[in-house]
């Protein structure tokens, strides 16, 4: 009895959906409007700056650490330090791969970054900080080479270009795993749960932020 009522209701709701999804017709997700303007990949070139881990997108040009050094010292060292050690809170570029398992990991280009192409891409798109996208491809190759050489990943005279850069093997190349679903399982115990309730750290002891009361 109930199940037949349910069937009728289901049929009715199906009819409702069928009726309403037809109107208005513009809500159909497959309708093509063509409000955009066609472009060719050539038109896009000035914006198409991304470089992939396989080197796709690297421009023509080349550089060595030697040629990159004066550019680095003039345009990068003020924030990152003459030796890539990082000034103030600006990031260090040189670091020890072994630090990643320590209490104070030093995540730098040398210790952490998996691809040299990312370094080229990032300098090219975002550096120098405050004057982005101002370096020539040769300068970007040179600065990339200088930072890699400071990390002892390449030699001072290694020539980086679209062919050689993707082949540079970074120390932490195999350090990443693609997240697959959640890695944490918790239960929702309601009563007499076995938890530690001793206060082990208190924010008032740190005084880095008082409360925001006026």
């Amino acid at each position: 009895m109930f199940s037949s009522v349910k069937v009728v209701l289901l049929l009715m709701s199906g009819l409702l959906i069928a009726c309403c999804s037809k109107t208005p017709s513009s809500s159909s997700s497959s309708q093509w409007y063509g409000f955009g303007t066609p472009l060719t990949e050539k038109n896009i070139a000035a914006w198409d700056i991304d470089v992939g881990p396989d080197g796709v997108g690297l421009p023509v040009g080349s550089g060595t650490a030697k040629r990159g050094e004066p550019v680095y010292l003039a345009k990068c060292a003020a924030c990152h330090g003459d030796f890539g050690e990082g000034m103030g809170r600006f990031p260090a570029l040189v670091g020890d791969h072994a630090s990643l398992t320590s209490d104070r990991p030093n995540k730098t280009v040398g210790s952490y970054w998996p691809y040299a192409t990312t370094l080229f891409d990032y300098i090219n798109r975002a550096m120098p900080f405050g004057n982005a996208q101002s370096l020539t491809p040769d300068e970007v190759y040179g600065v990339t080479a200088y930072i890699l050489a400071m990390n002892d990943i390449i030699k001072e005279d290694t020539v980086l270009n679209a062919e050689t850069l993707p082949k540079v093997k970074m120390p932490n190349r195999d350090g990443f795993v693609m997240a697959q679903g959640t890695d944490i399982k918790a239960d929702a115990c309601m009563h007499d749960c076995e938890v530690k309730v001793k206060v082990v750290s208190r924010a008032s002891k740190n005084r880095v932020t008082s409360t925001t009361k006026e």
Partner: protein, 425 residues
């Protein structure tokens, strides 16, 4: 004449005075029973000045502002956490907000190269790569498409990162304020991909901003075809510059950085691009030395917003404990609250609608006996995911994973009513 003297108070004292008085009134009412004290009842009411005089007329503020008594409700930042303001974070004042929408002027900020002053007439969205026809869209083009409006939270993956080694910031604004929520209006990305036509082999997209960081992130095409939105409006008005004016990618429930602001380009490709912001940063370093990459989802999390360090207990007696819960996986199903550090839990009421990937408010009545208490909240989302304790989280991720700290948070209520951020173990 003297009894008609304006009763208004200086703005800097007004609100706090009001709170103090109402708190005292509340306490008095508690001790004196349902109808208050005779003293309170006997005090004659005063007609305030604003009931006599005309106020400012319409369009005094063509774009309105909050009351002058709400000046303390602002975004705040911590100068010591980042090298410059242009690559920094500001925190939303969650302790002063209500409901599930963050006012546009209070939405948390995270910029990597400051806010670009984009002229919408010169801004373009380019879609190219593995598509049948690369296209550019102006804002005016996008406004012609059928739009949708949806309420979603955005949370920085780094929200709570400062608390990973132990309780650090003594304020809700700084422990949880990299979280905001808005009604976003725009064009489903799926519709624009239908315009350009997806070529076979396209598995990932690169989204890139027009700021001086050209901030870029890869994301899988499944999300683009699911609920990704090219948003141009936020809470009924065009996006705020700080939120990506004139265009922002909204990837509901996913870490804030992937919701690329000032969106200028989408490229379709076969694999992720391994950009700086998905390798060097926004990856979770585990105790083994390996790092989890592409941890997009903001898993279920909750926090009690009242009381909190900024909102201490007014006194013993009945108090409405309130908070926020959210999940990047869907709807909030249940929130439990503990007053004894997680030993025993009670189910809280969900207030208003529990929307998909949206902030959800909860509340529970608590009769405080004036003694020290350890308050916690714990959310369960519609997938059955249970918000973990710090112990459970650290067991897997250690204390250097930086991002996606969604652990159960503890407020210690002191006998004096002050509330402190603490961690248990």
């Amino acid at each position: 004449m003297s009894k008609r003297k304006p009763a208004s108070v200086p703005p800097q004292q007004g609100r706090r005075g009001f709170i103090r008085n109402s708190l005292l009134g509340g306490l008095a009412a508690l001790t004196a029973g349902r109808f208050g004290t005779a003293e309170a009842a006997g005090k004659a009411l005063v007609v305030p000045a604003w009931s006599h005089q005309l106020g400012p007329g319409v369009v005094t503020n063509p774009y309105g502002k909050p009351s002058i008594f709400e000046k303390h409700v602002v975004r705040r930042f911590l100068p010591w956490i980042r090298p410059t303001r242009e690559a920094s974070i500001s925190f939303a004042p969650l302790q002063d907000l209500h409901g599930i929408i963050t006012p546009n002027g209070l939405f948390y900020e995270r910029h990597h190269a400051g806010v670009p002053p984009i002229d919408p007439a010169e801004h373009l969205l380019v879609i190219h790569g593995l598509v049948k026809q690369p296209m550019k869209f102006t804002l005016q083009d996008l406004l012609r498409y059928p739009s949708v409006s949806r309420i979603h939270f955005i949370e920085c993956a780094g929200n709570g990162a400062m608390e990973q080694h132990g309780a650090l910031n003594n304020g809700l604004q700084f422990t949880h304020g990299m979280l905001s929520s808005a009604e976003w209006t725009g064009v489903p990305l799926k519709r624009l991909l239908n315009e350009v036509g997806i070529r076979s082999g396209a598995k990932w997209l690169l989204a890139e901003g027009a700021d001086a960081a050209a901030l870029a992130r890869s994301f899988p095409i499944d999300k683009a075809l699911d609920d990704a939105l090219i948003a141009y409006a936020q809470n009924g008005e065009m996006l705020r510059p700080e939120q990506g004016y004139p265009l922002r990618l909204v990837l509901p429930g996913w870490e804030g950085v992937a919701n690329v602001k000032w969106l200028r380009r989408l490229e379709l490709g076969t694999r992720p691009w391994d950009m700086r912001e998905e390798t060097s940063t926004y990856t979770q370093l585990l105790p083994t030395g390996k790092a989890r990459q592409f941890t997009f989802i903001q898993e279920a999390k909750s926090v009690i917003t009242s009381p909190c360090p900024e909102r201490p207990m007014p006194g013993k007696g009945v108090f409405m404990v309130e908070g926020l819960a959210w999940s990047g996986e869907g709807k909030v199903k249940r929130v439990d609250v503990s007053f004894d550090g997680g030993r025993n839990w009670q189910q809280a009421r969900l207030k208003g609608p529990a929307l998909d990937k949206s902030l959800t408010r909860f509340e529970i009545e608590w009769t405080w006996n004036g003694k020290q208490a350890l308050l916690q909240s714990r959310v369960i989302d519609e997938t059955g995911y249970v918000q973990p304790t710090y112990e459970q989280l650290r067991k897997v991720r250690g204390t250097n994973s930086m991002y996606h700290n969604n652990a159960i948070h503890t407020w210690m209520v002191h006998p004096g009513g002050e509330v402190e951020n603490v961690q248990l173990g």
